[in-house]
Symmetry: C2
Subunit: 752 residues, 2 copies
């Protein structure tokens, strides 16, 4: 067995902080359902826990009052709802309650098995009266049957025979987590679900609940498989009693199904059907299916670093989390924290398109497609949002959302980040370039490109022959509401050009009817797109030879990042926004990100100077920053620096370096570490001009390899000290540029 798919903690700490962190790190999810790794039996009452089971895209509405009302400000937000709690499993041995906080824990291990798709908790416990047991919990959220959450418990008495009682709960009366002291999670308690009905059907209990404001519905069902001497029921709680002999193992399986009204119009019937089906198929079936699914997954996206096993595990952990987090249907997307916690309230950001979609575009196309389709399902909301912002046309995608309406309460670093519309357009184009799949463009991609292009026309204006985009915020939230943010303008230019290009391509293929009918776009309008793109104002400073982040960035007070004190970070928690806006200080990659995604817009010399300049003033207070700096450092041949930046980001959650992993994983950073290898060290680029690689190898590694899909082909890359091997695993011959030289990839190419 390849141990680099195993992440394990032995004799883990029982401190509350560690428990909260591990609730995130060991959570189970499958893109639809997410379950935090709470203890089945709970913690002591004075412990804090974020106990939750979530459904991707399933939300309620919460008020978000503005301190001062102004036209168009957002006054309510969607929040990911904590649904029913089916985690509870209490164990009593001869009347003594099992708990890690009583008696003596002789051994304990938590494991995430990324090949088999399970987490487990393995405990050797001595009760206060001296009874010794081995108890192992194994959890799975099924990639095969998305609504299924399965818990297995095996209990083995070591030094006694006696009675064991298992109490299994199914609770509908749950709330979302709140913490009034932390601005990054909800500060107020709101009840979001109401139980409407409880049904007993055979061995299953089914609970029907409705969200308070959004009026969405879900059903949760629970059934058990075990051989107990006695069973009884108390409402939705079931109690199982066993007479056990020393050395004998009790097996207990708890099946939970969660069906929501978004995906399942007949959610109750479906829930009942699935709980019966799951129970009758049995646990082994799902373990097998899970392994099978993951074998395919790892086969598609295998990644390996020879010379740093921990890193390989961290990388795989990251990819596994992306898989767990990504919505598997067009009704959902990837939340900033995946399905691992309530940080950012389950909202979807630009993180998807710029940090996570690349991974799926290169390895799991169905997911990438769904992500684009999800943005298409909310296109009408984006058009409505544009109207709220005063625009006469176009689609302004919400900065943060679940179902499509904007949820950003502070618009200068929310709605003002118009670049998200360009980011979504960029992802549509990237998917096309990697797949050459015109059908998705015809179905929805081109329409997204047209409507976002229309937005740029409406935001911008000509001034002295240049097309200006004023009063927007780029990715760097430490400078808001600026004019001609380089990143935004460069992306808008790309968006405008590709809107025109996509319509032309579809017309040539006879596939343009849908987009032309839906958008009514005319040749004159397309010509206006081109004119604006051609005239786009891309700020450039002659003296420094760099692209200023925006028109006025360089005239502000310089604040060198190395002078920022540790205790002042992240700066946003310690300085009034206006103070930050008044300085040359960046939270994260902004112009440097533009230099990665649109590298041909500037000369290498400009990119090099820009990189050096922004390095001086970037604090990397955002988890989205270092991976981008790593990629551009690789591009510039600064491999040691690239490696340094990479190291900071790859292990962020496993080492909790941002101190808030308890609220959920940083999914975008996980995608970013993948990008830092494939686009960074590997130098992969997929452009209109074709496929290219420009690999470098960090000093500390012996080699690394990865594989990816390109058009009809699958290609693997192995970068070693003395050579690089590029192999066409399947598909037709490809032209590929490696380190600037063009090759025909038929079977394998070896480059020194």
């Amino acid at each position: 067995m390849d141990t680099k798919y195993i992440f394990q903690k032995e004799n883990f700490s029982l401190s509350n902080d560690e428990l909260l962190l591990d609730e995130t790190l060991f959570h189970n999810a499958n893109g639809y359902i997410g379950v935090r790794s709470n203890y089945e039996e709970g913690y002591p009452t004075n412990f804090k826990t974020i106990r939750g089971m979530y459904l991707n895209g399933f939300y309620d509405i919460a008020p978000m009052k503005q301190a001062e009302k102004l036209c168009g400000l957002i006054e309510e937000k969607q929040i990911m709802v904590n649904t029913a709690d089916t985690q509870g499993i209490l164990i009593e041995i001869n009347g003594e309650s099992f708990s890690l906080f009583s008696g003596e824990v002789l051994k304990r291990t938590r494991t995430l098995d990324m090949l088999n798709g399970t987490t487990s908790r393995d405990i050797l416990w001595r009760s206060p009266s001296g009874l010794e047991l081995n108890i192992k919990f194994t959890r799975l959220t099924s990639f095969y049957m998305l609504p299924l959450f399965l818990v297995k418990v095996h209990i083995t008495p070591i030094n006694f025979s006696g009675t064991i009682k298992i109490t299994s709960t199914h609770i509908g009366d749950v709330m979302n987590f709140f913490d009034p002291t932390d601005p990054r999670v909800a500060g107020e308690s709101h009840r979001h679900i109401e139980v409407k009905n409880v049904i007993h059907d055979g061995n299953a209990t089914i609970l029907h609940a409705e969200t308070i404001t959004s009026k969405l519905n879900f059903c949760s069902a629970v059934s058990h498989k075990t051989k107990a001497a006695r069973t009884k029921a108390d409402g939705t709680t079931k109690i199982f009693e066993y007479d056990v002999n020393k050395g004998e193992t009790i097996e207990f399986y708890k099946f939970s199904i969660l069906c929501d009204s978004i995906r399942y119009p007949d959610y109750m019937d479906e829930c009942i059907y699935l709980i019966k089906t799951a129970a009758s198929l049995g646990e082994s079936y799902f373990y097998d299916k899970q392994s099978e699914y993951l074998r395919k997954f790892w086969d598609n996206c295998s990644i390996d670093v020879d010379g740093d096993d921990d890193l390989t595990i961290a990388l795989r952990y990251n990819l596994y989390q992306l898989l767990q987090s990504a919505g598997k249907d067009p009704n959902s997307n990837i939340a900033a924290k995946g399905l691992s916690g309530e940080g950012y309230e389950g909202h979807y950001f630009w993180d998807t398109e710029m940090y996570m979609q690349p991974f799926f575009t290169l390895t799991e196309r169905e997911t990438a497609k769904n992500l684009i389709r999800n943005r298409y399902t909310i296109l009408e909301h984006a058009k409505q949002n544009a109207k709220i912002l005063g625009h006469k046309q176009g689609a302004a995608y919400p900065w943060r959302t679940i179902m499509g309406r904007e949820c950003s309460g502070y618009f200068p670093s929310g709605s003002a980040q118009y670049h998200i519309s360009g980011d979504i357009a960029y992802a549509v184009i990237a998917y096309y370039l990697a797949t050459k799949d015109k059908s998705l463009l015809a179905e929805c991609g081109a329409e997204i490109l047209i409507e976002t292009a229309r937005l740029w026309i409406d935001i911008g204006n000509y001034c002295e022959g240049k097309f200006h985009i004023n009063e927007v915020t780029g990715p760097d939230e430490y400078t808001c509401l600026v004019n001609n943010n380089y990143y935004t303008n460069a992306l808008a230019q790309y968006n405008l050009n590709w809107a025109v290009k996509s319509v032309q391509m579809l017309k040539e293929m006879g596939l343009a009817d849908h987009v032309l009918n839906k958008t009514g776009v005319t040749d004159a309008e397309l010509a206006a797109f081109t004119s604006a793109a051609d005239a786009m104002n891309l700020p450039f400073d002659e003296k420094l030879g760099i692209n200023p982040q925006d028109d006025s960035f360089l005239q502000k007070k310089m604040w060198e990042a190395h002078t920022v004190k540790e205790e002042e970070t992240p700066l946003l928690l310690h300085y009034h926004p206006m103070y930050l806006y008044r300085h040359q200080i960046c939270k994260q990659a902004d112009t440097v990100l533009a230099h990665f995604i649109l590298e041909d817009t500037q000369s290498l010399e400009t990119i090099e100077k820009s990189f050096a300049y922004y390095e001086r003033v970037t604090t990397h207070d955002s988890s989205l920053s270092t991976c981008i700096f790593s990629i551009v450092a690789s591009k510039l041949g600064q491999v040691d620096k690239a490696y340094k930046y990479f190291g900071d980001s790859a292990k962020m959650d496993l080492f909790n370096t941002h101190k808030n992993t308890k609220d959920g994983i940083h999914t975008a950073n996980m995608g970013g570490t993948y990008m830092a290898i494939v686009y960074g060290f590997g130098g992969l680029r997929i452009k209109e001009s074709g496929l290219s690689l420009c690999p470098v190898l960090p000093e500390k590694w012996n080699s690394y390899n990865f594989s990816f899909l390109y058009e009809d082909a699958k290609i693997s890359v192995k970068v070693m000290r003395d050579k690089t091997l590029v192999t066409l695993l399947h598909g037709t011959e490809k032209q590929i540029t490696i380190k600037g030289k063009s090759y025909a990839l038929i079977n394998e190419i070896e480059v020194q």
Copy 2:
């Protein structure tokens, strides 16, 4: 009697809208206590009323939650509290309740008598059963005894004899007004006072209450003077019964006293003492004192327009309201709505310094002095506010406040308006220039100048040899968080220079000890002030020959004000802020205001071009705008235009042109109309270089005159068609420039 001191409405409408408006228009106030002109007997229950009695500077704290928490954002605000309600007087005639909404109102008149300082309501009423009475209510808030509110009721039966019952209430259980549909007043109901105790002392009832959060205290006392046949008491309510004969008049006087714990440490003793004193002095005493006070007031600030009596009344109305609104001690200032209503929650803004203080500086120096002292009492809060905003030094005056802490919930058009610190500095300097009173500078003025100058140093930074002030908002709230707002920079320059000058002057006079000790300012720091002032970046556009409102104003999309549709105004209620920020569109005078207050900073040609430019893009959605455009039009010799702008603003409240006078008067606009005559048409300027006039006469007027104080002198100006008379009413000889020519003013000068 001069009827131009009388504002009267006969047979006024009884619509709810009109009643709400008249509650404001006929309110009584004296700078300490303010009472809305609510009907003593109330309205029908389905009518809306903003029933209130306020104390200037007396506040409670209300929460103001931010939609997204960010460092330093304001999360609570002060609000002017509605105190006890002593207005209630219910009248029954032979068992029939008097109400303007039953029976028949044969005649009705509301009057504001600005010479005697009273309001009255005179009604000829026929009851449903046919009884006819004359009822007259007369109200006064005393300028002599500030805590006193006095209501006189005279009732005369016309066609019957019978029984009349008067029920007089004194209610502590009151709330502030709220309206969830209007962003300009409080949207939520909060209880702000709690009655702690009720005391009966002789004929007086005294009520002691405390504010819920700020824990301030006040006492209200009520006593009556009347000759009733029978009286009884029910708690704080008193009932008086009379047996009256046809033609006989009942006289009823209700004395109320309101003492707060801010001014009166022994507020309860003081309240009891004052209610007894007031009752024993008797009503006539206060009527006489009131007339005496107002004779002096009008004598100091007499203003008259021959050829437009309505305008003369409107002007006097405005000055009278300024007198009613202005705090009479350093504990208070002038609220944006005076003491006439709850709009803007009783907050003090820059309106004081830039629009109202000029009137007091020229006519009522004690009040002007108190306003400066009030800003000095909150200097420590302003320093604290600077720290909240990230600054290492200096005083950042709050954009809106009562007791000194910032109450602005939306910082881009709140705290970002740093110019308020410059405005306060400007008012300190203006007071000095008009009075040459170095003692106030020594006492507090210079310290304010130093601390505000320090703020500019901390906000700004040098860039290519120029001193930049970035990320601030000028007076025009339709463009926020800009770089180098011309108004702000020009004012900062003036502030910095005068900080240095004031210390020099005080040193020369041997008066500098206090400011040097308090601020610790060094010669090096003063030199840095001068350097920054000298290097101040004042944006100038060579091509247009104007001062751009800020660095990027001219590159934005042009939105000509004449194309704005009526139904879109004010724009702030119809467009998202970001949309406004992205356009060349101004809410109000900004650069044009700078061209008035600091006219020597630019050439006349630049000012003329700027004026023409900003005219095109200004909507005057703020009531602070047209008066400034009028002044600058006068300066430029565009008298017809000046007259047009002036006409729009002088009668704003009397004609309710902004449709929100119900929430209170627009005190700043009232000061602005005064300025439009004295500084505008009269062309008065008081600068370091001396006193000057440059009078023009609007076509429609025959003449106008005004008088003002200058140094030790009082000077009157009468501008006629063919000549201007300038008279030294008292004081020593002055040098004066009239229409560019210098004169010695000994007795009178006549200029053609």
